[in-house]
Amino acid sequence: MGKIVAVTGNEAVANALRQVNPDVCAAYPITPQTDMMQRFSSFVADGKVDTEIILVESEHSALSSCVGASAAGGRVITATSSQGLALMWEILFIAAGMRLPIVMPVVNRALSAPLNIHGDHSDSMGARDSGWVQLYSENGQEAYDNTIQAFRIAEHMDIRLPVMVCMDGFIISHSIERIEYLDDDQVKSFVGEYRQLYPLLDVEHPVSYGPLILPDLYMEYKRAQHEVMTKVSKVVLDVAEEFEKISGRRYGLFESYRLDDADIALVILNSAAGTAKDAVDEFRNRGIKAGLLKPRLFRPFPYKEVAEALKNAKVICVMDRADSFGGFGPLYMEIASAFMMNGSRPVLINKIYGLGGRDFLPEHAETVLGELVDILKTGNVRNYKEYIAVRE
């Protein structure tokens, strides 16, 4: 049986990484991730793990080292935030294109300029097309649980893709919560022995990574990369089912909260979903059928399943903690695409909230739900994309 602790999100994820005991870690400090890798490097220094830690001069080098170590045949981790993820940009696509199962917690933080160290999803949303699997976490417990499951997803022999585990900077990374840890042995047997695929260090079977592929074959490789993404959802569900057996905690591709008979719904990621659920409860208490959908697996995006879950809602607000300037928020674009697949046409509006760590308060969620009620009654949409909790 595991134990119940009061720890920060960073501490919980660092502990998950200790329990997994990877072969190699290369990371560079960046707020708000710093304290996670600082804790992990203490585990290395204290001999609690067998991990070789590589000191690097940047995140570009950190992920480059991870690519080398992973191609060599090791179980490899790193972690980053914001500008660090931006600096990894080039290598993100290389890690995914080479199908290297690197696991990377991303402590979500806003991007410069202006400089801001607080939580929003601009960093990982910007990396959504890099070919990495992305899991999002509402709280410290989910971040801990997702980190452990990420290894099984990444290393599955049908998948072999890098995985980001996203959690909100400061709100989750630095807040102390009640978290249930699994036993070290449980985690060890859950993730299992690392299985290599084409390791560079197998000198009996020499291989080359990173060949030049010109127009005659490049598109076939990209088509194959998309194909492997279509297999991820099933693996995520299989891994979640096994995880439930050892943890008692249930995970899916997303969480549906009071959604089945909901007329109005919010779609919202990560920590703000917790706040929004309270507002949903408040509206339910008033007899209004409100619900919420919180995506967990963002890449690959489970369009069909999400559209099915939202099919009864008549008015929906997709809330984005990231922006596409001149476009809709990234989550909104996915939900809008999802509805193209099942024929239902709810009213779908987009709110941008919480950029750069701006507080998302229960009254903000209530205001949005109130607007959805008005749209349900009148059919009038004021604006399809708006910013909330912003001063005029």
Binding site: R160, P211, E220, E227
Partner: protein, 95 residues
């Protein structure tokens, strides 16, 4: 050519030495031509060739390997020739 279902994950090349199958001679704009009557068999061309496009047998050079010669012209530049007459000259492809 292979279809997308037949590819190795991550474009990993599992066959060692397979670059030999990738003929690079088509990159050439100028073709080196060997004139044996001016050749003193110094093998400077063999030594300077950045690829392995000059074949040598029993210590003597033979014809160019045009499958891999990219026409860089280093061999022609280094060739001392005989009495000022080069044993390697560069000729534009297609002429």
């Amino acid at each position: 050519m292979k279809g997308w279902k037949e590819l190795t994950p991550g474009a990993v090349v599992t066959e060692p030495g397979s670059s030999e199958q990738f003929k690079t001679g088509s990159w050439r704009a100028f073709r080196p031509v060997w004139l044996p009557e001016n050749c003193i068999q110094c093998l400077f061309c063999w030594m300077y060739c950045p690829d392995m496009a000059i074949k040598v047998k029993d210590g003597k050079r033979e014809e160019f390997d045009y499958d891999f010669c990219k026409g860089c012209g280093i061999c022609a530049m280094e060739c001392p020739g005989k009495k000022g007459n080069k044993a390697i000259i560069m000729v534009e492809e297609g002429k």
